[in-house]
């Protein structure tokens, strides 16, 4: 930066991309963010709700950690969110904005529920689980394939296309629920009497199957994206389609293949939610996780292990907010604000990890 240039026009604040943050820098920025978040939150808690901030933080912590059961629920909910994040990772890495995870999970869940309703008690258990799983994976894959095919052949906008597919899925689910509930006021649990299609407990924990699957997929997806040829193709297509073409990669085929994988994994999530957690279906089966998972995948830069950490943070905040609302009879909007402030600062810290601010007249970093 020459002296002359600076004299002519230098803005008060400039944002400069950091070349590479050191581990120490990252830790310092994140720790500062969490500390600031806790301070701002404490002000909110004290002045708006009139509660003791330290007691509220303890309660928040208890939302996940006070009992083994609560911890297992946190892990269960983490499994659903993380699985969708994993499913989204290859699509996002390819710069294919799959905003349709919610719908892909729902059709997978619907396929599972349909198999439970029509084949529950008619097939041996192992076969029933297999059919449920296969149906959900196929349904999810189909929901991913449709927008990918249009993208590959007509270059349609995938963000809008996948988003709209969500609403199609929601309506189909609403319709089926309405048919299945018959004259009852709600659908309730499927196969309440026979419990056909309900996941058994393994190793003494109800949700272990979901957890085992998600742990496996964290590792598998990490390896797929990092070490496989297909993972490399995805990365190249994501960086530049022209480069990919030049390198002899069939871009359309990679798009379709990746979206089938992404959709299929979302469908699988639907299977795990219905069979392993809810044993029923509704339009809120995916519970907005299809959208939250976009944050998870994006923040983690498609590293599945980082995704696990971020999912845990989000679930921790969610459970904490719920517990605060219950324990202090607070309006749940207030408790959501408390959790939201923490999330805001953590997301904000990403900015300061990737960029630095330079104030006019000084070369000192502010972050």
């Amino acid at each position: 930066m020459s002296e002359q240039n600076k004299a002519i026009h230098e803005p008060l604040l400039r944002v400069v991309k950091r070349s590479e943050s050191s581990m120490k820098q990252k830790i310092v920025v994140r720790a500062a963010a969490i500390l600031l978040a806790l301070i701002v939150d404490a002000l909110f808690i004290f002045f708006i709700t009139g509660l003791n901030p330290l007691a509220v933080y303890t309660t928040m912590f208890q939302g996940t950690f006070s009992t083994a059961m609560r911890f297992s629920w946190a892990l269960r909910d983490l499994a659903s969110l993380l699985l969708i994040g994993i499913a989204l990772a290859p699509a996002f890495k390819m710069r294919f904005w799959n905003t349709g995870a919610e719908g892909q999970v729902l059709v997978g869940a619907l396929a599972t529920a349909a198999v439970m309703v029509y084949y529950g008690g008619k097939l041996p258990n192992w076969l029933l689980y297999t059919v449920m799983c296969a149906a959900s994976v196929l349904a999810g894959a189909l929901w991913g394939f449709i927008p990918a095919w249009f993208k590959a052949h007509f270059n349609t906008n995938e963000t809008l296309f996948t988003l709209m597919m969500n609403y199609v899925a929601i309506q189909i689910v609403a319709c089926c629920v309405n048919i299945w509930r018959g004259q009852a006021s709600g659908l309730g649990k499927l196969n309440m009497k026979s419990k056909a299609g309900w996941f058994p407990q393994v190793f003494g924990q109800r949700y272990n199957i979901n957890l085992i699957v998600v742990v496996l997929l964290v590792v598998l997806m990490y390896c797929y994206l990092r070490y496989s040829k297909q993972g490399y193709e995805i990365a190249v297509v994501g960086e530049s389609e022209n480069t990919a073409r030049y390198a002899g990669i069939n871009v359309g085929r990679v798009i379709i293949r990746t979206m089938i994988i992404s959709g299929a994994l979302c469908g699988l999530t639907g299977f795990l939610i219905v069979g392993g957690r809810d044993q029923t279906i509704s339009t809120s089966t995916a519970g907005g996780n299809g959208f939250t998972a976009i944050i998870v995948a994006w923040l983690a830069k498609f590293n599945t292990f980082t995704m696990a950490l971020i999912s845990f943070l989000l679930i921790f905040l969610q459970k904490g907010a719920m517990e605060i609302a219950s324990a202090y009879a607070l309006n749940d909007f207030a408790s959501d604000i408390i959790a939201g402030i923490i999330l805001f600062f953590i997301l904000g810290s990403e900015f300061f990890i990737n960029y630095r601010l330079i104030i006019r007249g000084s070369h000192k970093e502010v972050c």
Binding site: M69, S185, D278, A329
Partner: protein, 411 residues
């Protein structure tokens, strides 16, 4: 002196024992809404009042607000148990299917699914249902509305010449009703309201508009407006918001002839001149009995259903818009219900398909409609006893689902 000391000692011991029992009871309450919604508010108040009366400390109650009718309910129940609760209450029908799962797993904890219908059929002795005989209060609120219609007819304010739109082709006065869903609970409710009204004014017809939601201010308001546009002079309701009374007040102020009968809460603050009264549940009666039984280690019935005989239902204060003599008539009808001389579903007062009912078999079986199989097998009872339909005797949840002549439903 010694005697006095002994007496004091005995009194202190007794007090200590009583409060020890009260302190032993830890209650988890799972609510579908929060204090901003009339139905849930009435449950919150019911639990609080009963607990205060019995000396159960507030710290012994764990509240779970805004619990949806899904797996969250099961989690909430288990979470309450984890915190030491030995009785779990849920206040919405849809919670029942999740409560029963928890009840199967925790036989030492008592579960009460309010407004539920299959506890007795599960064979679990720690799973209960309860409901008030709210249809009695709806009948009385119908009487209040009937008195108003009679007054309007008498004064000539409501006549075929002045309000031609408010009479059907046969000269019957049109009544409107905003219903949530087309289940027995709502059918039983609007029928009793209609019969109460017709006990005062014989020539009435009623139209029921469904909103397909328990709580939707806008839909309930729209349904009320549609009914008033058709000429209905009374708008009854079985949905939980203030939408219908507010809409009725707005249209009354705009020059329409219309009055409102609410539900759950006093609607006078919402509709100062349009509201007449609201039938409401006195949940504290049930909760008081439940807590007392549990503290004394007594058995709790699988089904609990009480009405005026236990003051478990009532109507809220009559508004200034009510007709003269309403209060006396209400007293008389309530006394009649209490001593059995008035039966709400007296079969001689209504017809179904043009026929007087002599037999009405009701099947308590709970179906799994998705797979068309029996979820819980129940017996079939003959509901017509001594010339009246016996509501809430074979189980607490309403099962009167007959469509009587004079009422039409719009879905």
């Amino acid at each position: 002196m010694k005697k006095l000391l002994a007496l004091i000692l005995a009194a202190v011991l007794c007090l200590a024992a009583c409060s020890a029992l009260a302190a032993d009871l830890k209650i988890g309450v799972i609510l579908v809404g929060d204090e901003t919604e009339g139905y849930t508010l009435s449950h919150i108040n019911g639990v609080k009042d009963a607990a205060a009366e019995l000396g159960i400390p507030e710290n012994n109650i764990i509240w779970k607000y805004k619990c949806p009718e899904d797996q969250t309910c099961y989690d909430a129940a288990l979470d309450c148990i984890g915190q030491g609760c030995n009785v779990i209450i849920s206040n919405s029908y849809g919670h029942q299917t999740y409560m029963v799962l928890a009840a199967e797993e925790y036989p030492d904890v008592t579960f009460v699914s309010m407004t539920g219908d299959f506890a007795a059929l599960t064979g679990l002795d720690n799973f209960k249902n309860a409901f008030t005989k709210i249809f009695q209060a709806r009948y009385v609120s119908g009487v209040v509305a009937g008195m108003k219609v009679a007054e309007l007819l008498e004064s000539g304010e409501l006549s075929p010449e002045k309000q031609p739109n408010s009479f059907d082709a046969d000269g019957n006065v049109k009544i409107g009703y905003v219903g949530a869903f087309d289940y027995a609970e709502v059918v039983s409710g609007y029928t009793s309201f209609f019969l109460g009204l017709r006990s005062i004014v014989p020539n009435v017809v009623m139209e029921v508009n469904y909103t397909n939601s328990w709580f939707d201010i806008d839909k309930e308001a729209a349904a009320a407006e549609a009914l008033i546009a058709k000429g209905c002079v009374i708008i009854g309701q079985h949905a939980d918001s203030t939408g219908a009374p507010a809409a009725t007040q707005k249209l009354l102020d705009a020059g329409n002839l219309c009055y409102s009968v609410g539900y759950n809460i006093d609607m006078i603050p919402t509709a100062p001149t349009a509201a007449l009264t609201s039938p409401t549940n006195v949940w504290s009666k049930f909760y008081g009995e439940l807590f007392t039984s549990l503290m004394n280690g007594e058995a709790v019935a699988a089904d609990w259903a009480k009405g005026y005989e236990a003051d478990a239902v009532k109507i809220t204060a009559l508004s200034d818009s009510c007709a003269a003599g309403t209060a006396e008539k209400v007293e008389e009808v309530i006394a009649g219900i209490k001593d059995g001389s008035i039966k709400v579903f007296d079969a001689s007062t209504f017809t179904v398909g043009g026929e007087t009912l002599t037999s009405a078999p009701v099947d308590m079986t709970i179906m799994d409609w998705a797979t068309m199989t029996v979820a819980y097998a129940g017996e079939t009872y003959e509901a017509i006893v001594d010339g009246a339909f016996e509501e809430s005797s074979f189980r607490s949840a309403p099962y009167f689902a007959l469509r009587i002549d004079g009422i039409t439903e719009v879905k």
